[in-house]
Symmetry: C2
Subunit: 134 residues, 2 copies
Amino acid sequence: MQIGELARTTATKVETIRFYEKIGLLPEPGRTSGNYRDYGAAHLARLSFIRRARDLGFTLDQVRELLTLSDDRSRSCSAVDTVARAHLAQIDQKIADLRALRRELDELIGQCSQGAISDCRIIEALGPSAQNGH
Amino acid sequence: MQIGELARTTATKVETIRFYEKIGLLPEPGRTSGNYRDYGAAHLARLSFIRRARDLGFTLDQVRELLTLSDDRSRSCSAVDTVARAHLAQIDQKIADLRALRRELDELIGQCSQGAISDCRIIEALGPSAQNGH
DNA sequence: TCTTGACCCTGTAGTTGCTATAGGGTGCAT
DNA sequence: ATGCACCCTATAGCAACTACAGGGTCAAGA
Ligand SMILES: [Zn+2]
Ligand SMILES: [Zn+2]
Ligand SMILES: [Zn+2]
Ligand SMILES: [Zn+2]
């Protein structure tokens, strides 16, 4: 299987596959006589894993850790659980941050009376003397 | 006012101030005889504006646009409103995306029975044959 | 046989928004 | 004169790709 087909199968750009290889996430495949990369089922499996984990928002470092863990089939999966739960906590934090932001911005927009810039509460609130009471 | 004081006043790193100058967001200040940057009230006001907008999650391009708009005091602020509402929509989208992610991940974690890796539903779900029904 | 076109290769630079060095100069106090 | 805090420029690094530039490979069609 050459890189283009692997890319289509996993909905990944060709450049991204080469990038994963360069950073050691995806093992180097064999080469054809014409120096084309030649992938097999194991590569497809590994890349699918990477992509799914990325879709779930894991960082590449976390993906690397999950891959290492998953390669040791006999050990307990509590380490996997730990990685996953840490990621969940990060997501919760991000959601909370964004909600606070959203509240601020919404409040600001609600005060804009669509007049001249010099009266605009949005611009005013961004100005140097504005105090943010939150 | 030299750069360190401006940095402390606006809770910005010195390097960040120089970076804003380099990308044309903050105008070049005058220099002292010893080639130190010398800032005045206008710079402080502008940097405060930038920082507040960044805190609200606007991108540097959006900040640039807001600054340009705010410099024309007589025009209508509807353009400002447009930028702010677009940003709000982006935030809402991000929150929605993160919530969907969170739901997926939470579901996955709930299925992990803390056994061996080979039985772990998290690892399994990341594998190549896993179908995601969502 | 020659050429076209789709595919592949390497290597490097760009993206966003900073941050962190390295290797110096300035200014003031002791 | 020496220390120290502060400043200067220039460059490289971070995440996680993405986009070239400038080539090589391979199968099909005229
Ligand atoms: Zn408020
Ligand atoms: Zn307004
Ligand atoms: Zn699910
Ligand atoms: Zn498990």
